[in-house]
Amino acid sequence: MRQPEKAELALDRARSLGKDPILRSLWLAKAADCAIKDRAVLVGGAAVNLHTGSYRPTDVDMCALLDASDRQALVELGFANAQGDHFEYRFDDGETWLLEFPGSQVDGDVSMIQLSAGDTLTVIRLESLIVDRLLQATDRTSVTFEEAVRLCLAAFEKTDWSWVSAEIGRRDTLEPGLGVSDVYDQALHEVRSLLDPLGQS
């Protein structure tokens, strides 16, 4: 449901809370969520950054069904339509942030973040995000594998690994050629070898 006044307030929060990238990304996402009709779900790198604190997302990815009136609402709120479904917001301090709407459906479960007393934001659940990053790492490049390892390691203690294992098993059955189980095993092996010296695995 479109809530233009709440969108303005969320954008004010994004502007007034300083340059912390997590707070900035969350309130920008909330502003977009309130500006459009569909519920927007934070996914991708900005969601990873909530767990690793050092991801440095290049944009804020959100899943939502977007139509022309939503695009117009985002522009009226202060975003510029930069390229495709990329929307750009320039802060007075010189920072430019990008929102992107890569698709309408979240591949997995969601959680909610209580941003303030009256504001929540829907985000992809940690365990689903881990599965997503492991699926990306099936491209067998060091960049995606390292990112999967970083997320698994940073969130190691709070992750429901039995859920992740079951989900990876299901994905492997659906697409056996992808090799996501192998990537998962390799990533966990790497995480344990890194955590072992700290006595945390």
């Binding site: 969350l26 569909d38 973040i113």
Partner: protein, 122 residues
């Protein structure tokens, strides 16, 4: 706001690797209606629910509610700090955003706006 657990219904669809269009074609329920139900913006009629569950090859019991976790912003900030500290402790520095953009570019994505935006942030 719907009281129905649409996220669970979406998960069941994803497990079957079906797109909204696939399900719409197979069940006769419109793509928009399925999206509204999955996004918690509409409660499904029983007849619609039966069609969807049947399409996914599951029963009502598979809709077992999985309560959505609510995390406070303080927990998020603390978790991010802890994660960053842990990564530093094992010798993994900050993620290399430029390398990620290079990788996207290799896959023929246009990353010009992302590079420009990233350059404005320290």
């Amino acid at each position: 706001m719907s009281y129905f657990n649409g996220a669970r219904l979406r998960q069941l669809r994803n497990l079957k690797r079906l797109s909204l269009t696939d399900v719409s074609t197979r069940t006769g329920v419109s793509r928009a209606q399925i999206s509204l139900i999955e996004n918690g913006k509409a409660d499904p009629r029983i007849s619609t629910l039966v069609k969807l569950l049947s399409c996914y090859g599951v029963g009502l019991a598979d809709l077992e509610p999985s309560p959505i976790e609510v995390i406070s912003i303080d927990e998020v900030m603390t978790g991010a700090e802890r994660g960053a500290r842990l990564l530093e402790a094992v010798g993994l520095g900050p993620s290399d955003a430029q390398a990620r953009l290079d990788r996207k570019e290799e896959r023929k994505a246009d990353v010009a706006v992302e590079r420009a935006a990233l350059a404005t942030r320290a």
